[in-house]
């Protein structure tokens, strides 16, 4: 009988890099903020920029989350997503402007009520529009990427032109409600109130989304559908119905994002959705198509990056986002948090 082979287990300690690896995407946000701090070297402006970067990121996240979920669930890429942003903004701002007496009043409750009504109106409108868009434009071209891209692009053009027909071709300027105007000073940095509100709303949406996806039955079905749709259908769930629901929810969120974006810019144009679309695509690609968490992190990165660079070298702002996307794709070709499909 031969002797048992030598067995010398090695208990190599995992290096710090290995242990940090999985959390790297999450860590990127504070790292970027730190890099921004080192580049700017002025705590007050850094704080202002960071808050506005976070606010912008939150708004982009709200707009982009629907797109990424829709893709993950049904492999549908919606180039017309920007249309919901525009429509949301126009409907919301129209409601706000008709409620002028409420927004101009110095009462916080009245102001908030008006904004809430505007947001509700916008979300209802875009939700309904999302339902129609899904039925008319997307449904006939399932499983055909090329046609999806073409048709949804066509849908975007039509909606954009219809906005011009209904609201006219000019840009519409307006004022934020009284309660959202002005800034507060904190540690020597002026921070616009509205940006804080945007950050809070963004966090709330993200938390709610995570809660729905992780803790509820419907979220379970959605997540399972993303991973393996056929299996979920085989278990007796009507995934198509779930998908329509997600599409509507995503459209409504895009509408919410549109209102927030409009309040941030204080001007709306028919092309604003188209412009937002570019940032949304960058965010969705960075995050990994189909992943809500990736989308969130990507949006924050893009928002911070854009604000820091715009402060340091204004002309490079848009290019910086492309550079960010390229860097991340070199590091992780499928995006930061790739969605694993069991196929």
């Amino acid at each position: 009988m031969s002797a048992a082979p030598e067995h010398a287990p090695t208990m190599a300690q995992t290096t710090l890099a290995e242990r940090l690896g999985p959390y790297m995407p999450v860590l990127l946000v504070p790292l970027l903020a730190l890099a921004g701090f080192l580049a700017i070297m002025n705590p007050a402006s850094w704080l202002t920029l960071t808050v506005s970067g976070l606010a912008m990121g939150m708004m982009i996240f709200i707009m982009a989350s629907g797109l990424t979920l829709v893709f993950g669930l049904m492999d549908v890429i919606n180039f017309g997503h920007g249309a919901f942003v525009s429509v949301g903004a126009f409907v919301g701002i129209t409601v706000l402007m008709t409620l002028g007496h409420m927004t101009q009043a110095p009462s916080l409750m009245l102001n908030l009520g008006a904004v809430l009504l505007a947001v509700l109106g916008a979300m209802l409108a875009t939700g309904a529009m999302g339902w129609a868009f899904e039925k008319v434009i997307v449904a006939p071209v399932y499983g055909h990427h090329l046609k999806q891209i073409l048709v949804t692009m066509g849908g975007l053009i039509v909606v954009e032109q219809l906005i011009i027909v209904l609201w006219g071709p000019e840009e519409i300027y307006f004022n934020r409600p009284e309660a959202l105007k002005g800034a507060i000073t904190f540690a020597g940095a002026a921070i616009e109130k509205y940006r804080l509100v945007a950050v809070a709303v963004g966090l709330a949406v993200f938390a709610a989304m995570r809660w729905v996806l992780r803790r509820t039955k419907i979220g379970l079905i959605v997540r399972a559908g993303v991973e393996n749709g056929e299996m979920v259908q085989a278990l007796g769930y009507r995934l198509k119905l779930v998908f329509v629901g997600v599409f509507i929810a995503g459209s409504a969120l895009a509408g919410l994002g549109g209102v927030m974006w409009a309040l941030y810019q204080e001007v709306i144009t028919a092309h604003m959705g188209n412009h937002a679309m570019i940032l949304i695509f960058i965010v969705v690609i960075i995050g990994g198509l189909g992943s809500v968490e990736g989308c969130f992190i990507g949006a924050l990165l893009v928002g911070l990056m854009q604000n820091y660079i715009a402060f340091i070298e204004p002309k490079a702002a848009l290019i910086s986002n492309i550079a960010l996307m390229v860097t991340i794709l070199m590091w992780r070709p499928m995006g930061m948090i790739p969605v694993v499909k069991a196929k």
Binding site: I77, F79, I137, P140, V141, H145, L146, K147, I149, L150, V151, M153, G154, G155, L156, I157, V158, E160, Q161, L162, I164, V165, P169, N274, H275, M277, I278, F281, I282, V284, I285, L289, K315, L318, I319, N321, I322, M325, V326, L329, M330, P333, M334
Partner: protein, 356 residues
């Protein structure tokens, strides 16, 4: 001879052959058949757009890849010629260098974008090209020192291509069939011949083994990969080729207009026009590009007036005049676009070939 010129890709349908022949003859003799500044300008635009749309069809129809950066490549070619003409002075050498540099830069950029996006999934390509193209458009309007910003660049082409240049005084008394023999005529034929050569080159490409592999990848990339073709390489090569030819078409456009600006060569509207031309004419066949571009440019030049007239007719009715006004041209294009993708995916050429 015709067969080898067309690389064996015959129209395969009598009406189609007649239409194509008609378009060719009209374009070849445009200055003589339809004398007039505006009609010749339309004809030149048709020539250039045929090449541009055909090069896009190489990507979309043959490769099955959607790109939104095609106007960017077109613009790179146009700005190439404009910049060299401004800085080197008028001359054919400036045009040649500008066109080649533009084509080279476009191909290099396409290579970069393609390597980044196509190796993962083809759908990334559409999104990334959209982002990059809009960034470049913003950049071009911001770098006003180099590119003239929103105003664009006006420049001089060689004297032989300008209206002041007269020739054939002794032989034809300065005019032929009532058409003045001047540099504008030469410029038209410069564009026409350039466009014809590029189109024939594209025909050669799509009917070569390379084109066949592209079609195979479009139909089933997984199977093409298993047969042993490196899908990524073929897709990237198609992207580069199509970008270079789009840039050359842009150079022709710049030579014809003697002006470049972000609105004329880089705008998103132009990209949508190209998409529409491809879809109307028929994806996956270069003759579709020919028909699509011709129909579209004609419609754009003449139908818009009609829409204006229609909107005057319904004046007083609610909303209708707004919907029909010539500025809402894009709205109807969008509707037409969606309908043709659904009901008419093979376009005019596909229909004609079916009814053979």
């Amino acid at each position: 001879m015709i067969r080898s010129l067309l690389s064996g890709d015959m129209p395969r349908s009598l009406p189609l052959a007649l239409i194509l022949g008609g378009i060719l003859i009209c374009l070849a003799l445009a200055p003589f058949l339809f004398p007039g500044v505006r009609t010749v300008d339309t004809a030149a635009r048709i020539c250039i757009f045929i090449v541009l749309v055909a090069s896009y069809d190489l990507l979309l129809g043959y490769g099955g890849i959607v790109s939104f950066a095609h106007t960017m490549f077109f613009g790179i070619g146009a700005y190439g010629v404009a910049l060299t003409s401004v800085h080197m002075g008028r001359g054919f050498d400036a045009i040649a260098i500008g066109a080649l540099a533009g084509a080279g830069l476009a191909a290099a950029l396409a290579l970069l974008i393609g390597l980044f996006s196509l190796r993962v999934r083809a759908i990334f390509f559409a999104m990334i090209t959209l982002a990059v193209a809009s960034a470049v458009a913003v950049l071009v309007s911001q770098l006003s020192g180099l590119t003239g910003g929103e105003d664009g660049l006006t420049f001089k082409t060689p004297r032989q291509l300008g209206p002041a240049f007269k020739f054939g005084k002794e032989m034809f008394d300065g005019s032929l069939f009532g058409v003045k023999l001047n540099g504008k005529l030469l410029a038209y034929y410069f564009v026409f011949i350039g466009a014809t050569l590029l189109f024939l080159a594209l025909l050669r490409v799509v009917n070569s083994p390379f084109g066949r592999v592209l079609q195979a990848i479009r139909e089933n990339d997984f199977r093409a990969e298993s047969i042993g073709y490196r899908v990524v390489y073929y897709r990237v090569a198609a992207t580069c080729l199509s970008a270079a030819i789009a840039a050359l078409a842009g150079s022709l456009y710049a030579v014809w207009l003697r002006y470049v600006g972000p609105d004329t060569v880089l705008s998103m509207e132009l990209m949508i026009d190209i998409l529409l031309m491809v879809v109307i004419g028929g994806m996956g066949t270069l003759y579709g590009a020919m028909i699509g571009a011709t129909l579209f440019v004609l419609a754009q030049n003449y139908l818009q007036n009609l829409m204006g007239a229609a909107s005057h007719l319904v004046e007083g009715l609610p909303l209708l005049p707004e919907l029909l006004s010539a500025d809402r041209w894009l709205l109807w294009l969008g509707v037409l676009f969606i309908l043709s993708v659904y009901f008419f995916p093979t376009g005019v050429v596909g229909r004609l070939r079916e009814n053979r």
